[in-house]
C-alpha cells in the first residue's frame, strides 16, 4: 500500500536592519523589528492562519486519514510569540489532532552543521526542547537546514539517535534509484526519506506558472500523477516551504482550492494513503544505503551549498561568525549567546548570494535588501559593532 508523505517547512529569520558603517559603535540593536513584525503578520494572514485552518478542516473531514508533518524553527516560533501568537495557537491545535508530526531541525535554521558540531548539537537540543514544550511531541525524525546533507551530517544525526532524516532527492545522488523508496544513511541504520522534487516542485514552484505545459494544475490531475506511481514505489515525499500556500503562490492562484481537494482525491484510490515520516519508517523497509559524494541542499539549480557560501563575501561572513564561538561561550551570557545564534541563521548568507538568472530572482524575492552587496555590508557592520562594543575589553562593554 503506497503512501504520500507531506512535509512543510516553517521558518522566519530575524532580518537585520540596514546597518551602515556610521552606526558602528553607536547602535547595538541589530534587527529590524518593524520589518520582522510586518513580514510575520503578513505571512500569518496570507499563509499560516488560512493554511492551518485548511489543514484542521481536512484532518477533521477525513477523520485523520489526512496527515501532515512540519518543522517549525525556533526563531519562527519566537517571532510568532512576539508578533502573532494566534499562529502558534493554531499550530498547537494541529498538534492536538494526532494527525500532525513535528520534525526536528536546528532552532536557528543555521549552517552550524558545516562549521561547529558542538554548536550544531546544542541548536538541535534547543529545538527538541521547544517542540516538547510547545507541541508535546518528541521528534524521531530530523531535517537539516535547507536539506543540507552529506554522509558526515547523516552519521552525526544518526549518532544523536534520530531514526530518519528528510533529504533532497537529487538526481546525481539517487542515480538509477527512485526517490519513492526508503534508503539509509551510509554506514548507519537511520532511514532517509528523499523528496520527490518533480512532484513537490510542480506544486511549490510551477503551480501558477502559465508558461508551464501542465498549467493549470488541478488536484484531480495531480492525484492522477500520484496514482500513476502505483507499484513503482512505497512513498511519494512531497516536501516544500509551508509559505507555498498563500505566500509564494497567492490565494488568487487557486492554491487553497487545490489543497482543499487534493487529500480526498489521493484517498479515493483504495491502495493509497497519506502518512507522516514516522509512519514511513515504521512501515517501509530500507532498500539500501544512499551514499552522498557531495554536499546537497534543496536550493537553487545546483542543489548544493553555493546559495550560502558560493562567493567570497559569504565565506568571510560565515568564517567570522563561527570564529566568535569560543569568545561568546566564555561570556556565559544567555542574551549574548542568543544574539550570536540569531546571526547564524542561514538567510543572512542567502541574501549575499551573487547568482545569475532564475536563481537570482529567487534570492531577490526573499531578500529584504537591495542586493547581495548591501546584505554583506549590513552584516559585516553588525559584526564590527559586535566585536567593538559587545566583545570589547570589559570596561568598554555594552550591557545586554
Amino acid at each position: 500500500m503506497p503512501s504520500v508523505c507531506f512535509y512543510f517547512e516553517v521558518h522566519q529569520p530575524y532580518r537585520l536592519k540596514p546597518y551602515g558603517a556610521l552606526q558602528v559603535g553607536r547602535d547595538h540593536e541589530y534587527f529590524d523589528q518593524k520589518l520582522n513584525a510586518e513580514v510575520l503578520r503578513k505571512v500569518a494572514n496570507k499563509c499560516y492562519l488560512p493554511a492551518n485552518e485548511s489543514m484542521l478542516r481536512l484532518i477533521d473531514r477525513t477523520d485523520g486519514r489526512f496527515r501532515i508533518s512540519y518543522a517549525v524553527t525556533g526563531v519562527a516560533i519566537e517571532q510568532m510569540k512576539l508578533y502573532a501568537p494566534e499562529v502558534l495557537d493554531s499550530f498547537v491545535r494541529l498538534a492536538e489532532t494526532g494527525a500532525v508530526e513535528f520534525v526536528a531541525e536546528t532552532y536557528y535554521h543555521s549552517l552550524a552543521a558545516l562549521y561547529d558540531k558542538d554548536e550544531y548539537r546544542e541548536q538541535i537540543d534547543l529545538e527538541m526542547k521547544l517542540i516538547r514544550n510547545e507541541f508535546g511531541q518528541t521528534p524521531r525524525v530530523f531535517r537539516n537546514t535547507e536539506f543540507i546533507y552529506n554522509d558526515e551530517i547523516g552519521q552525526f544525526i544518526s549518532d544523536l539517535g534520530f531514526e530518519a532524516m528528510l533529504i533532497e532527492g537529487a538526481d546525481d545522488i539517487l542515480d538509477w534509484r527512485s526517490p519513492n523508496f526508503v534508503y539509509t544513511v551510509a554506514g548507519r541504520d537511520t532511514k532517509l526519506l528523499a523528496k520527490n522534487y518533480k512532484l513537490s516542485d510542480d506544486i511549490a514552484f510551477r503551480f501558477s506558472n502559465q508558461a508551464w505545459g501542465e498549467y493549470p494544475l488541478t488536484a484531480d490531475k495531480f492525484a492522477g500523477w500520484v496514482h500513476g506511481h502505483s507499484g513503482a514505489g512505497d512513498v511519494i515525499n512531497l516536501f516544500m516551504d509551508y509559505e507555498t500556500f498563500g505566500e509564494h503562490q497567492w490565494k488568487e492562484t487557486g492554491i487553497f482550492e487545490f489543497l482543499e481537494h487534493l487529500p480526498d482525491l489521493i484517498l479515493t484510490h483504495p491502495h493509497w494513503d497519506i502518512v507522516t515520516p514516522s509512519q514511513v519508517i515504521d512501515r517501509y523497509p530500507a532498500l539500501g544505503e544512499l551514499p552522498f559524494h557531495r554536499t546537497v541542499s534543496w536550493a537553487d539549480e545546483a542543489r548544493d551549498i553555493s546559495a550560502w557560501r558560493g562567493n567570497a563575501m559569504q565565506q568571510r561572513a560565515l568564517a567570522e561568525i563561527y570564529a566568535l564561538g569560543p569568545q561568546i561561550r566564555k561570556r556565559n551570557n544567555s542574551h549574548l549567546l542568543a544574539l550570536w545564534r540569531r546571526l547564524q541563521t542561514s538567510d543572512h548568507f542567502y541574501y549575499m548570494a551573487t547568482k545569475s538568472a532564475s536563481d537570482a530572482e529567487v534570492h531577490d524575492y526573499f531578500s529584504p535588501y537591495e542586493g547581495p552587496y548591501d546584505a554583506f555590508i549590513h552584516y559585516m557592520n553588525v559584526m564590527k559593532d559586535l566585536n567593538l562594543s559587545v566583545l570589547a575589553p570589559a570596561e568598554k562593554q555594552i550591557r545586554l
Partner: protein, 492 residues
C-alpha cells in the same frame, strides 16, 4: 538606409560624455549597415593632445576619406612631447597601431564626417558662452583654422535660398546672418544666435542631399535637425542625453528649455538614454511616454592598465570623484560623505577631479570641514591623466543629483574599479554590480565607501562580476535597439 546624424565631435576614447556616445552609436550603426552622414559643429582653436589623435585614428579610418586626419608618425609625436614616451597608454596604443595594418578608406564608406565651423560645444550655457567670447581665447585662431578647413573639406557654395530658418524659432534667429563672410568668422552675439547660425550653416552644408531620417543629439542641434528634416521631408529623431533640468535643476534656462521643447515636439520619435530620462522628459515637457524610446548607452571594452597602480603617490586608499564640478554632479555630497568616511578611515584620500562652477565652493567646504589634508583638486583631467586617475583609485563615486545616463561609472568599471552610483542616474538602471544610493543619503554613501575600503571580499566580488557585466553593455546592443526604432519611424 541613409541617416543624417547631427552630433558632436568624437573625443578620445577615455573621456565620457556626448562625443563618446555619438561615436559609439554611429560606429555601431555603421557596422549594421546604416549609411550615415555625421555632421558636427567644429569648434576651432581647441587642439587635441597629440596622442588623442592617435587613439582616434582607428575610428578616423572608418570615417572614410573625409576628413583628412592621419596620425602623425610616432617619432614626430614623441619629439613634440617627450613625456609621451613614458606614457604606457600611449605606447600601448602606438604598439597596437604599428601591428595593425593601416586600413585604407573602405570601398564604400558608410560614415562620412562633415564639419561645420561653429562656436559650439556640448553643455554650453549663456554664461559660459559669453565668457568664451569675452576672453577671446579662441578668436585668433579661428580664421586660420577655417582657411585650412576650407581647403581640406570645402563647403559648397551656400545656395541662395538658404538664408533663414523657416521651420524653427530660436531666440536670436532674427539677427542678420553674415552671408558674405566665411561662416564661423562671425560667430553669434549670444549662444542662441550661434545656435541659429549653426542651424543655417548645417542646412547649407547638406543642401541637396537625400536622407531617409535625421537624428539630432541634444538641444543645440535640435534647430538644425528640425530645419533640415523639414526641408528634406524626412522624419526627425531627437536623442536626449541630458535635459536642461538635469544640468541646472530649478535654475533651468527657459530659453534652452524652449528649444528642447521644439525638438521634442517636431520629432517623430524621441530617444532617451534611460528610463529615468524618459520619465523626466514626460514630466518636464509633457511628451507622451509612448513617443519616447529608451536606448541605453554602451561602453568600450578595454584592458586594465595595471602600470598605473605602481605609480600611486598617496599611502592611503583613494576615493575618486571625476566629472564636472557642477550642481548636476552632486559634488557637495561627495565632500560631506568624505568627512564621515575620514572618521572611520583617517588615511583615506579624496580626489575631486574636474572643473566647474561649484569648484571654488567645494574648496571652501573642504576647508570648513577641516579635511583639506585629505583632499586633492587636480582640476580638469585629460587623456592619460583620466586613465591614471581611474587606475589608481580604490573607489569611484558618482553622486549625481540628476544623471540621464552616466558613462563614467562604466569607464571606472572597465578599469576594475568598484563604483558607487546615485539612484538618480540612468546607468543605475542597467547595473547590478555597483553600489547604489540616493544622492542625498550622505551617511549611506559614506558607509558604502568605508565598506569598499575595508572589505576586500566585497571589492573582489563586485569587480569580478562587474567585469563580466560590462561586456554586455556595448554599443552594438544600443545600435541593435535603435535600428528597429528607425524602422518603425520610417513606417510612420
Amino acid at each position: 538606409m541613409k541617416v543624417l546624424m547631427l552630433g558632436w565631435e568624437y573625443p578620445p576614447h577615455i573621456s565620457g560624455g556626448l562625443g563618446t556616445a555619438c561615436e559609439g552609436l554611429t560606429t555601431a550603426l555603421a557596422e549594421r549597415g546604416i549609411e550615415i552622414d555625421f555632421l558636427v559643429p567644429k569648434l576651432y582653436g581647441e587642439e587635441n593632445a597629440p596622442h588623442m589623435q592617435l587613439l582616434g585614428a582607428a575610428s578616423a579610418a572608418l570615417m572614410g576619406p573625409v576628413p583628412v586626419e592621419t596620425p602623425r608618425p610616432l617619432a614626430e609625436l614623441i619629439a613634440a612631447e617627450p613625456a609621451l614616451a613614458t606614457d604606457p597608454i600611449f605606447m600601448a596604443a602606438a604598439a597596437a597601431a604599428a601591428t595593425q595594418p593601416q586600413a585604407g578608406p573602405p570601398a564604400e564608406p558608410s560614415v562620412r564626417m562633415l564639419r561645420v565651423p561653429a562656436m559650439l560645444k556640448p553643455y554650453l550655457d549663456q554664461v559660459t558662452y559669453r565668457e568664451l567670447i569675452r576672453t577671446g581665447a579662441l578668436k585668433e585662431s579661428v580664421a586660420a583654422e577655417i582657411a585650412a578647413a576650407q581647403t581640406v573639406n570645402p563647403l559648397p557654395a551656400p545656395p541662395h535660398e538658404v538664408t533663414r530658418l523657416e521651420h524653427v524659432h530660436i531666440p536670436g534667429d532674427d539677427l542678420p546672418f553674415a552671408e558674405a563672410a566665411p561662416s564661423g568668422a562671425h560667430y553669434g552675439e549670444d549662444l542662441f544666435a550661434e545656435v541659429a547660425r549653426y542651424a543655417i550653416s548645417a542646412t547649407r552644408r547638406v543642401y541637396g542631399q537625400k536622407y531617409d531620417l535625421v537624428h539630432a543629439h541634444d538641444w543645440m542641434t535640435f534647430p538644425a535637425g528640425i530645419e533640415i528634416a523639414r526641408r528634406a521631408g524626412a522624419p526627425l529623431v531627437v536623442h536626449v542625453h541630458s535635459l536642461e533640468y538635469d544640468r541646472s535643476g530649478h535654475g533651468a534656462d527657459r530659453d534652452i528649455v524652449a528649444v528642447e521643447h521644439q525638438g521634442l515636439e517636431a520629432a517623430a520619435r524621441v530617444v532617451a538614454v534611460s528610463y529615468y530620462t524618459r520619465g523626466l522628459i514626460n514630466r518636464v515637457h509633457n511628451t507622451p511616454l509612448d513617443k519616447i524610446s529608451v536606448v541605453h548607452n554602451g561602453v568600450y571594452a578595454r584592458e586594465t592598465v595595471e602600470a598605473y597602480t605602481e605609480q600611486r603617490t598617496s599611502t592611503g586608499p583613494v576615493v575618486l570623484f571625476l566629472g564636472r564640478v557642477t550642481f548636476q554632479k552632486g559634488p557637495e555630497y561627495f565632500v560631506q560623505a568624505a568627512a564621515r568616511v575620514l572618521e572611520q578611515v583617517p588615511d583615506a584620500v579624496f580626489i575631486m577631479a574636474g572643473s566647474g562652477d561649484m569648484l571654488p565652493r567645494m574648496k571652501v567646504l573642504v576647508e570648513d570641514l577641516g579635511i583639506t589634508e585629505s583632499f586633492r583638486f587636480p582640476g580638469f583631467l585629460r587623456g592619460a591623466e583620466v586613465e591614471r586617475a581611474f587606475s589608481t583609485a580604490d573607489v569611484y563615486v558618482m553622486p549625481s543629483v540628476s544623471e540621464p545616463f552616466g558613462i563614467a561609472p562604466l569607464e571606472a568599471m572597465s578599469y576594475d574599479r568598484p563604483v558607487i552610483v546615485s539612484k538618480q542616474s540612468g546607468v543605475s538602471e542597467i547595473l547590478r554590480n555597483a553600489l547604489k544610493v540616493d544622492f542625498w543619503d550622505v551617511d549611506k554613501i559614506a558607509s558604502q565607501i568605508v565598506a569598499l575600503l575595508e572589505l576586500p571580499e566585497l571589492r573582489r566580488v563586485i569587480v569580478e562580476r562587474a567585469r563580466e557585466e560590462i561586456r554586455h553593455i556595448h554599443w552594438d546592443a544600443a545600435a541593435a535597439t535603435l535600428v528597429p526604432i528607425y524602422e518603425s519611424v520610417l513606417r510612420g
